[in-house]
Symmetry: D2
Subunit: 333 residues, 4 copies
């Protein structure tokens, strides 16, 4: 008899499919429903369930709902869930920014439910205390997760020059662009190609990234963030270039990472000289990080995740584990 009854909203998108897969194998979870308006009636892969329309799902019947929904739709459902006394793990952008103003700046429309802000930001390796037993958690985006984990030890040690930019050259597999068909995700447009998009400071995740970085350290230069669409299905790499201040030489950086992440089950720091690659993480719930010192005061950090796992569904379940006081890695290793 399993203890936690769960429901997934948006169970047929790519993050939703991974959620369904992880939850249906989780030792403490009984997946009760998965919604999909598009595929209602079809079997939910890997389960005995069939998708139901979102309108037919009853949040009150479960202990926790996962929201893998478009932003704006998600906030309303989060509110409904909380009002029904159900824990809420939101995978959308709706609860990630702390203020309605910040939300409007990044998403160009008023926040649908400002009363829900701020919510705990679900990056356990940085923010664990706030997540334990929380009722609602905003699961971070794939780019911020991967990038913040790649930067966190340097932020925590205050090792970055505040007058130098943090350069993030990021590359994401196509599932990061969602399952809704578009020319952007057409096989023949992506195949054999590499496509930068929304570079500089135009991507919506920049605000989230800077908000969380500043919570850890006062001294953070401007983030320059350039994502690329990579011709693979899953996997995300943030290649991070930083300038260190006088408090830390580049040769000391690797030790800082080992120290900070030594006890983390879902973050691996590679030995000096090895480089993190997508194959390290695809279909796992881990973040893997490599650091290369460059000259005295520069560092090249490669941080990789599976964008649908540690970058979405895996981290959502990690958050759920914390919210219910379970072992944080249950169902994830």
């Amino acid at each position: 008899m399993k203890d936690i009854r769960a429901g997934v909203y948006g169970g047929s998108g790519y993050a939703g499919l991974d959620l369904v897969e992880i939850l249906s194998a989780h030792p403490e979870v009984e997946l009760q429903f998965a919604t999909s308006n598009t595929y209602a009636g079809d079997p939910a892969p890997g389960t005995e369930l069939r998708y139901i329309p979102a309108a037919d799902a009853r949040p009150g019947d479960v202990d926790v709902i996962f929201l893998a929904l478009p932003h704006k739709t998600s906030a309303a459902m989060a509110k409904a869930g909380l009002e029904a006394g159900v824990k809420v793990v939101d995978l959308s952008a709706d609860l990630r920014l702390d203020t309605p103003e910040a939300y409007e700046k990044s998403y160009h429309s008023p926040h649908p439910h400002p009363e829900l802000l701020p919510a705990p930001y679900g990056l356990p390796e940085i923010n664990r205390a706030e997540l334990q037993c929380a009722d609602v958690v905003a699961t971070p985006g794939c780019y911020p997760t991967t990038t913040l984990l790649g930067l966190y030890p340097l932020l925590r040690f205050g090792a970055l020059r505040d007058d130098a930019p943090i350069i993030v050259d990021a590359k994401s597999g196509v599932t990061g662009a969602g399952r809704k068909p578009s020319l952007t995700t057409h096989f023949a447009e992506v195949y054999g190609n590499l496509i930068p998009y929304k570079t500089g400071r135009a991507h919506r995740h920049v605000g989230e990234l800077e908000q969380e970085a500043h919570k850890v350290s006062d001294a953070v230069g401007p983030v320059i963030f350039c994502p690329h669409l990579l011709p693979v299905d899953r996997g995300l790499m943030s290649s991070i270039y930083v300038s260190l201040n006088d408090s830390m030489s580049s040769d000391q950086a690797h030790d800082a990472y080992l120290e900070v992440y030594g006890g983390e089950a879902l973050v691996d720091v590679l030995p000096l000289g090895e480089q993190a690659t997508l194959k390290h993480v695809v279909k796992t719930n881990k973040c893997v990080i490599s650091i290369t010192p460059v000259l005295d005061r520069y560092a090249h950090i490669t941080s990789v995740t599976d964008n649908l796992r540690k970058g979405a569904a895996g981290q959502a379940v990690q958050n759920m584990n914390l919210m219910f006081g379970l072992d944080e890695t249950l169902g994830l290793l």
Copy 2:
């Protein structure tokens, strides 16, 4: 001063894009317009032109129009073009079948302009005489082109057993499914996958294939045709398995191919022991064929084309060359 003014309808689909590329480099063609309702106003890649809406194009201003349009839309435009005294190269399915009944059987709706049927079938290596100086030509589909060229020598020599099926296991790159976004062509659905579809006798091209095979030979068994979606952007392979009758042993088959295609500039027959692969033909206007004798009376034939070239745009231009009495390979080698 070039001699032939041409217009392309449907110039932003994958076949249309290749048509625009080939025609704009053709020594005797002046490309006057390319239509695209979706991309009207955008530059047509590789040219000085911008796409115009189909409604703004004036067929009367050119000498030939190419129709890379959806079936049913195409027939009406073919009619309009012919009435305006313009030659018509149709790349849709509308003019490929000889009778309205055959059309309705394969396309499940009445033919929009039965008065246009039959039209010459534009497979020059089989049907050249009918195409020279023709006013309208139906350019074959990519599967029938590749398969019929792979079978033709055996059909012409009457070498097939009429009581044995012709097995065609075909594989096509994703551009064959068109440029309109759909879940079927989403990168993450195709990547790492291989997907059979409409197998047996369900694919629309079966009727066209059998119609043309029967024109060459009385003795043709049933065609079993199983297409697969291949995770590459372009290229089409028909793997053909046949049983030979007493008139030809499998060891004699290769010579038959050499004899039939010896003079063809756009069909290459590989030496015995070599196998045709997609790399032989991608971005060329050729069909490449290999034959492997199996036991006494069976043969395995591999026939490959670029589905957008010899399987569509390249063959359309080959047909145009014939229609205007030009060297058949002009602009294609």
Copy 3:
């Protein structure tokens, strides 16, 4: 305390890597060593072990050895293992053919240890009784596994015409060609390509395939087998085309598959109208089959496996489970 101590010879090839991964997560197995002459000293991924040279491994210390070795090398090690009183799961070709003559015909050199022949052929869904508690098992090749499972119900019902060929158009991911670098497996040669090889009856697996088919049924026509190298890393599809005799119409075939495989945990038969694709099986230990009736007496069967799982390492573990009297699917679902 786990019951079965296991060792893997050839643990750094692709099949070996999957073996190591499956065995190290198997609830009843303690992986004691994995050999690799090339990578001796390196960590065996996903384990606490480091590869050791084959010469340093002591078969006597374990209960079972898996041989993911080149043919000819494997037989000698199988012999050594058996003499040491250890169970042997051989993944090479050395023990698959029943006689030294058959071996020499397919592998063009004398069998290194004819005294080991015949060994039980490890395809549990066909041959389960022989495998239970066996001391040595020859795990079939990926092509024969996938093809025989696709044909087996028709063979068992004697439904095939014996005067018509069985056409097998097969497609394999690149890991099927092994991990040793060669131009054939160079990324740039495979990418965007599709390559037939050893077609007709030239591939070594034809002998194995026909040997096992004839054990099930007297009435089997000649097998025409045409493999292709597919630009994906893993996954194997056998597209099988058969002619049925008077005992079964094509519409009855699907029921035959449901009947034969109804109780099998590792073979799924899809509902009529669905097609088996690589995504059904990649990274699973299953075979998935679809059948399409064509006209009265023909059928198109698509059988798919992960070539490294049900086509190699997964099936090897399934055999081990049987050899030790365990639940056959332990560690595989």
Copy 4:
């Protein structure tokens, strides 16, 4: 009757194959031989020639030799060619660095023929005057070509801060790693992966890059160069991140590029807001560049080439055209 007789050494590597393809279609070139020790006797694709062993080629019979050879082998052949009075286009690294000391630093062995240094550096858009009518030219590597073209306008205007690093996050298709089989280029290792290598300042091309940058401008910060192996066959992207000094705001940068490259036939600068992708350049001889201003004083530049064309063979032919006083783009557009 064509004017220039050419020979290619190393004609079966990937750069050599593209050279053979370009030269055999060049209006002023008669390709006389292509060498390959590995494939001697085989047909050189796309030509009437068969490969000959390097030892059988006679440089004295041609007007120009192209050396697509490993470094160290190439220098000796360059010397032999020059002594025979033949022009030499070297594609190896042997003549790119100006001093034997610089060579030894990057290549870790003494220069085989220091008397050949310095040779003109064959990047025509930067160095055209030195190349016209030269007898020998060192064709740059793919990474330096793409990166230097991406930086050149800022270098020429002296717009870079000399106390800030130049960050180059580069991604190359697998042909950049050569055709010799290795585990690094095995399909199954690359597929679905993204692999950083020799990051920081460890890659051999860093010395060449800095040498040439410093010739254009005194004020250049340290180059941090991080290449990645990309799962595509061809195409190279340098993503460049720079800090501007007070002489130029980020909004002015785009105009600088338009001004510098306005007259260049083989470099395209995209309109502001568009991003350069691999599809812009694959199978062309062009470099395409996009610039994105970031805040006041930063810029993100994306520079793309086909690593085998503008990054190797195409640029070699561009150099040859200049060496013989021909139109620089002959055979390249």
